[in-house]
């Protein structure tokens, strides 16, 4: 038995996050009675420490450790840093929302930290088992976070739906994994890729494995035709949780798709490309058309999220590293924009009532012009109106798809983008041109959230005006990774 | 002995038939003494508790009451088995079988002496643990199938209690495995050679106590017998059973008691090893005593503890049982796993090498 102690250094952020999350978990039981905000501050501090640890050991090389179950590369570092940054914002909004709506407890932060740990594990996974475990750590935390608001019937219903369908998706994914393992006899991504590259593998088994894996992935990402849970879950969950659900898990999902499709199964490009094309077209159509009929902003953003998943997958369909980079850019932009979109409901949601119907936004310009402007930024960015950052995200993805020769897909994407612009702009119209029933000025719940939302919203504009830095970051991250 | 028998049988029978007959004989050779031990254990229980309460105990049937178990068995066999009309008949009938089968099956790996064992398997400890864990189904199924409130309450109590104490029990055994570096019961005993101060009860004293307490709870014995709890829920899970069906539950309970005692003797008290090992003079003086006598003496002592506890302790309240299991025993065992790990890593103490 020749056992070499693995190199722990690359995994220090994960280890630190696990330790800090455990400390917060134990600490919460001790200090929650005396000081209400202690858990919140401890959580934010933990995130900052972890973020600093990643930045401090930022790598431009690929480091594989733990016998090939863990990988640290530029892509993972960039994604993790963004996860931490967005999570900081999420917890900031979430605390305000939970205080205002009078629910929640320290477990929200603990489970949130564990969910982020799961995302880190997914982002850094380099074999099938690790990827699965990361996914489950994240999903289990998310199911629980949704149900934490247990006096709310809709929240519990949303959690149950998410749980049942999530379990089904996990089953599909594992079934696919087992087929891939059965065909190749390997679980490490690089070895799977190597075995597939030899061409000695039974293609039928692999193809079926890919089908099940893609179904599982799309389920988890919330793309059509496996999107049924998305609107109900987003709608049912409390806004603070919807904010969590709608942003950073997408980053982890991107990493999951990247690791599986690009690093483990590049040899099966033709197989998964066809599947993703179907999924993408359906997602784009569902995301753009069904969202029109929604009168609840959370539901609308949920459907629009399905459309965004379609755009992210467009980058994968391109099948080139530039394409993956554009998908990465898109997912990061989407997560940041989501932070403003969902966050605005918290900023405006004073009192016990949720502020999530589109009618609630009626005449917002008259009631609070500054926040209406910020919301306009978010909606424009999601719709892809230049010069906001969302425009460049859509542009890059479509450009890569065209380069790869799928012009018809690009046409579909553009058409659906135009259709979806309709409902984003409807929110803007409601805010600026409709007459509110209640003309009293609305104040933000508190200063911190107001300025955080404003800061991020303005960043959407600024990074839209000078897009090259952010785009280059993504392209370089992907370029350094392969 | 059985190998020779099998060879002789296979000389004129099919191979598989020879194996089957040998296996059956082996099973009978183990189960019959166990069942007889169970019968007289009930007698011992009544006598011991009787004397502890300054009574005579049964003393009418046979000389000094020694034939009492036979009389009890005859009585129970004669009695009618009542099937409650509203019960779930199949499950009601199958429940006693579910209770007795694991209690008997677990004996397959118990070594009575060096090499005297039906199946000397590598994962013996695990086998005993998993087979013993199935025993709870007899209680749960009987409680549910009886369609009676009291039986149902007994079943619920039993299922929660057994699971809780199984964890402590498992962890206590983990420390033994760590020290012995094997799961084979014969090898665990061999590792304890060299005098009674080498037996694991000294280095693992807390685990010895925890294991025995968990054993009490696992077998639903006083002071943890809330599953029966005759003062609260009549007779718990077997309130609707009568005659032989009722007796089978008792057989299972007492067989489990003896099993737990055997396991404790093997794990912590050196199994069949002589307590005089390594003591000059006494060792040679008692060298002629077969190992089976030593292990029987140890088991008898442990069984006496079972009876003693029943006579001494008042019954725990249900929430207190749960508290003891989850908040005292399990943390203690987990801590001790780490203690043993550290002691082994730093090679502390004379027991670990």
């Amino acid at each position: 038995m020749n056992f070499v102690i693995p190199n722990f250094a690359p995994a220090i952020p994960e280890i630190a996050l696990l330790i800090l999350a455990s400390v917060v978990l134990i600490g919460d039981t001790i200090w929650s009675k005396r000081c209400q905000n202690a858990t919140y501050y401890a959580t934010q501090l933990s995130l900052i420490i972890v973020g600093w640890l990643i930045v401090d050991s930022f790598t431009v090389h690929q480091i594989v450790t733990f016998d090939g179950s863990f990988v640290r590369d530029t892509l993972s570092d960039v994604l993790k840093i963004f996860t931490v940054l967005i999570a900081l914002g999420i917890f900031l909004f979430a605390r305000t929302s939970m205080q205002e709506k009078k629910y929640g407890s320290g477990e929200f932060y603990v489970l949130g930290l564990f969910a982020i740990l799961g995302m880190f594990v997914m982002i850094s996974a380099y074999n099938l088992i690790t990827l699965y475990l990361g996914l489950e750590i994240m999903s289990l935390s998310l199911y629980a976070i949704i149900a934490l608001h247990r006096n709310s019937g809709v929240a519990v219903e949303a959690a149950s739906k998410y749980f049942v369908l999530g379990a089904l998706a996990t089953g599909m994914l594992l079934y696919g994994f087992s087929m891939i393992y059965g065909a190749t006899g390997e679980i490490n991504f690089d070895k799977i890729a190597a075995v597939i590259a030899t061409g000695q593998v039974d293609h039928t088994v692999l193809a079926f494995g890919v089908v099940f894996v893609v179904i599982g992935l799309i389920f988890k990402m919330g793309g059509a035709p496996f999107h049924m849970w998305v609107p109900d879950v987003y709608h049912g969950a409390p806004t603070a949780v919807t904010l969590f659900l709608g942003t950073i898990p997408k980053i982890a999902a991107f990493a999951m798709v990247y690791r599986l499709m690009v690093e483990a199964m590049p040899g099966l490009l033709k197989d998964w490309q066809q599947l993703l094309i179907i999924v993408t077209v359906l997602s784009l159509i569902v995301g753009s058309i069904v969202a029109i009929a929604q009168d609840n902003l959370k539901r609308m953003l949920a459907y629009s999220g399905i459309g965004h998943v379609g755009f992210i997958l467009l980058g994968f369909i391109a099948g080139t590293f530039d394409g993956f980079a554009s998908a990465m850019y898109y997912v990061l932009v989407y997560a940041i924009t989501g932070l403003v979109g969902f966050g605005m409901m918290i900023v405006l949601g004073k009192g016990r009532q949720e502020f999530d119907r589109i009618d609630d936004f009626k005449g917002l310009n008259a009631r609070n012009p500054w926040l209406a402007l910020m919301m306009l930024f978010a909606m424009f960015s999601m719709a892809g109106v230049p010069p906001f950052i969302g425009f460049f995200a859509k542009l890059m993805v479509i450009e890569e798809v065209v380069k790869a020769g799928f012009v018809w897909l690009a046409v579909v994407a553009v058409i659906t983008a135009v259709i979806s612009a309709f409902y984003y702009l409807r929110v803007v119209k409601v805010m600026y041109f409709d007459v509110p029933e209640d003309t009293t000025p609305i104040k933000a719940v508190n200063r911190t959230t107001q300025w955080t939302a404003s800061f991020v919203a303005i960043a959407l504009l600024v990074f839209g005006l000078i897009p090259s830095g952010f785009i280059n970051l993504c392209y370089n991250a992907v370029a350094l990774t392969h | 002995m059985f190998n020779a028998l099998q060879n002789w049988l296979s000389s004129f029978l099919y191979d598989w038939l020879a194996i089957l007959i040998t296996l059956l004989l082996q099973a009978v050779a183990v189960i019959l003494p166990v069942m007889l031990a169970v019968a007289w254990l009930t007698f011992a229980e009544r006598k011991v508790i009787g004397y502890m309460q300054v009574r005579m105990g049964p003393n009418r049937v046979g000389p000094a009451g020694w034939l009492q178990p036979i009389a009890d068995a005859l009585k129970l066999i004669m009695k009618e088995i009542v099937l409650p009309a509203q019960s779930n008949i199949y499950l009601f009938v199958i429940a006693p079988v579910l209770a007795i089968a694991p209690a008997v099956a677990a004996w397959a790996v118990i070594p009575f002496d060096d090499g005297v064992v039906v199946a000397d398997i590598d994962a013996g400890v695990l086998y005993v643990l998993s087979v013993a864990s199935i025993a709870v189904y007899g209680i749960v199924v009987s409680g549910w199938a009886s369609n009676s409130k009291y039986a149902f309450l007994g079943a619920l109590r039993a299922s929660a209690q057994k699971i809780s104490y199984e964890i402590a029990m498992g962890f206590a055994l983990v420390t033994v495995l760590m020290v012995a570096d094997t799961m084979n019961l014969t090898k665990i005993v061999e590792h304890q050679q060299g005098g009674f101060w080498h037996w694991y009860w000294i280095p693992l004293l807390p685990m010895f106590v925890v294991y025995f307490i968990s054993g009490l709870a696992e077998t639903n014995r006083a002071p943890f017998d809330v599953a029966e709890g005759e003062s609260e829920i009549v007779a718990g899970f077997h309130v609707e059973y009568s005659g032989m069906a009722f007796a089978v539950f008792f057989l299972a309970e007492y067989a489990m008691m003896i099993l737990i005692s055997f396991m404790t003797a093997i794990m912590f008290m050196g199994g069949w090893l002589s307590p005089f090992e390594g003591i000059p003079g006494l060792e040679t003086l008692f060298a002629w005593v077969p190992g089976i006598v030593w292990i029987s003496l140890k088991v008898a002592f442990l069984l006496f503890l079972f009876l003693w506890f029943r006579a001494t302790f008042p019954r725990y309240r249900y929430d207190q049982i749960m508290r003891l299991g989850w908040k005292v025993l399990i943390p203690l065992t987990i801590v001790w796993v780490f203690v043993v790990g550290l002691m082994q890593y730093f090679k502390l103490g004379p027991w670990f090498n």
């Binding site: 863990f70 074999n127 475990l133 | 994962a123 199935i134 498992g170």
Partner: protein
């Protein structure tokens, strides 16, 4: 057919049949019990495949712990079977077709054609003294230690989630919690106080006596 093949088919049949019973039987408690049988048969199959450790652990963990808790819950539920069975016959044809199609696909893909003995020759039997436990333990703590720790984290998350979702602390006015530490630590002086009192003198009684 060797003895082992016979046992294999027997256990396989029991596992499949009890699995089928589990999903068709009406009573949830019975369904859980069928599932237990399926687990035991599967454990037997694993032991037959020389994975004794896994087989025994399957019984210990799933049969001995998980399913008992499951039964514990299911026994207490009052499930309305009529509502559950609603639409069963309506969706039966579609369900049957889907199940058959899935089975056909699975059989074609992972059936004997591709994963038969020609493609994957039977492994050589392990020597009699091979320790199954060590064979699992060594990779678990070396090669797969990262995944092993993550699995522990997953369980921790499960514990946190379960407790935070179900623990409802009721105010002390409603429920009297027993504080055993306080009970143990209690001293005589906390419970018991000696009070010195002056003797009560009742002079009036004497007066009455005199009057008489």
């Amino acid at each position: 057919m060797t003895f082992e093949t016979f046992i294999f088919y027997l256990l396989g049949f029991i596992a499949a049949a009890s699995g089928l019973m589990m999903i068709t039987v009406k009573n949830p408690v019975k369904a859980a019990l069928w599932l237990v049988l399926a687990f035991i048969a599967t454990a037997g199959l694993w032991i037959l495949a020389q994975a004794e450790f896994l087989g025994l652990v399957l019984i210990l963990v799933y049969v001995g712990a998980v399913m008992v808790l499951f039964l514990f819950v299911v026994m207490m539920l009052d499930i309305n079977l009529v509502v559950l069975k609603e639409g069963f016959t309506r969706y039966l044809p579609i369900g049957a077709v889907a199940a058959l199609a899935t089975f056909a696909l699975i059989y074609m893909v992972v059936g004997p054609d591709r994963f038969g003995l020609q493609a994957f020759p039977a492994p050589t039997p392990l020597p009699a003294d091979a320790s199954n436990t060590k064979m699992i333990a060594v990779p678990l703590y070396t090669t797969h230690v990262y995944a092993f720790i993550l699995a522990a984290v997953l369980l921790l998350v499960g514990i946190v989630a379960a407790i935070s979702l179900t623990l409802r602390r009721r105010p002390p006015k409603e429920v009297q919690y027993q504080d055993i530490d306080a009970q143990v630590k209690v001293q005589a002086k906390d419970r018991f106080e000696m009070i010195k009192m002056a003797p009560v003198v009742e002079p009036e009684i004497k007066k009455e006596e005199k009057e008489e």
